[in-house]
């Protein structure tokens, strides 16, 4: 099933530039409802307040990291089924394995292109 263009997407990254890049790509891909959070803690608050259909998160963030956010999402009955895409510069094999164990839906290594992001979304929502 292709991704619903009306679904709410949450972009989580402590860097404003990265949030803007991902949000721009989402807009160009036709997704109009994209929100942002600066870290895992802020993301959890938004996720619990609204009905999001997709999470795109960085790994390395202050306050609450992406991997901790992923674990928190997977441990929450209301949120655990939301697809979670990790977009990160943490490009060690151990990081990837840790994310897989925590239940990541897919994983993108920075720097990335719009095509890679689209391809990963297609895989997640096929």
């Amino acid at each position: 099933m292709p991704a619903d263009p009306n679904m709410k997407i949450l972009v989580v990254d402590d860097m404003s530039t990265m949030r803007r890049i991902v949000m721009n790509i989402m807009k160009q891909l036709g997704f109009a409802h994209v929100e942002e959070a600066e870290n895992g803690e802020g993301a959890l608050l938004k996720l619990r307040a609204g009905s999001f259909g997709f999470i795109i998160s960085d790994w390395n963030m202050p306050v609450m990291t992406g991997i901790d956010l992923l674990r928190a999402v997977r441990a929450d009955d209301k949120l655990k089924t939301i697809p979670f895409l990790m977009v990160t510069a943490e490009a060690q094999k151990d990081n990837l394995l840790e994310a897989i164990q925590a239940g990541v839906s897919n994983y993108i290594v920075k720097p990335f292109t719009a095509e890679v992001l689209q391809e990963k979304m297609n895989k997640i929502f096929k």
């Binding site: 990254d13 860097m15 721009n24 897919n106 920075k110 720097p111 292109t113 719009a114």
Partner: protein, 195 residues
């Protein structure tokens, strides 16, 4: 017994002189070390300023790129309407020319998106700068500890050593040698059933 005591006192005296000499040498090295380390907080501030400056510059490029993208989107909609209108009145040649222009605009849109994603360099640079700042701060803490322990400077409390420098250095070094690329990440993902 007397001889043994005399020998022991002699050795203790020798030890005390050695200690005093070592302390003096440490002081001689430590004093310039303490003054040389004074600019470290400014250095870290400058590094963090670099992050801020590149972030501001990047956001401005993004703002302008997004304006061009929005203009392109409007122009593409107008062109589509014009192409339809011209086709309706059988101006195929003009319609084809406009359609070609629309196609070229669409190509430019791809380039604009590439510009946007290329700007992710700022995030990668900022992450490395943050790690370097942590390393510098850790070194600074250890220098201050040295200064206080050897009495080179009486004022100021001993800051708690964070011990994060090694970890940050390890991460920076690891990123040079063992960082995986997307294709390897995909390979690993497929091993775990990600299609």
């Amino acid at each position: 017994m007397l001889n043994a005591n005399t020998k022991l006192y002699g050795e203790l005296g020798e030890l005390a002189r050695s200690l005093e000499s070592a302390m003096r040498k440490v002081s001689e090295i430590g004093a310039p070390l303490a003054s040389d380390s004074a600019p470290l907080p400014q250095a870290t501030a400058h590094l963090l300023d670099l992050n801020k400056m590149t972030e501001e510059g990047t956001l401005e490029v993004m703002r302008l790129t997004e304006m061009i993208q929005d203009n392109h989107a409007r122009a593409a909609r107008e062109l589509a309407v014009m192409v339809s209108a011209l086709e309706a009145v059988d101006c195929q040649a003009l319609a084809a020319r406009l359609a070609k222009t629309a196609s070229e605009l669409a190509q430019d849109d791809k380039h604009l998106m590439s510009i946007m994603t290329a700007l992710s360099f700022q995030d990668l640079v900022a992450q490395r700068v943050k790690k370097l700042v942590t390393i510098v701060e850790d070194v600074q803490c250890k220098l201050v500890e040295l200064v206080v322990v050897f009495g080179l400077e009486q004022a100021g409390a001993v800051p708690e050593s964070k011990g994060k420098a090694d970890e940050m250095l390890r991460q920076l070094e690891a990123s040079k040698s063992t960082a995986i690329k997307q294709d390897l990440a995909d390979e690993l993902l497929s091993e775990f059933g990600f299609k």
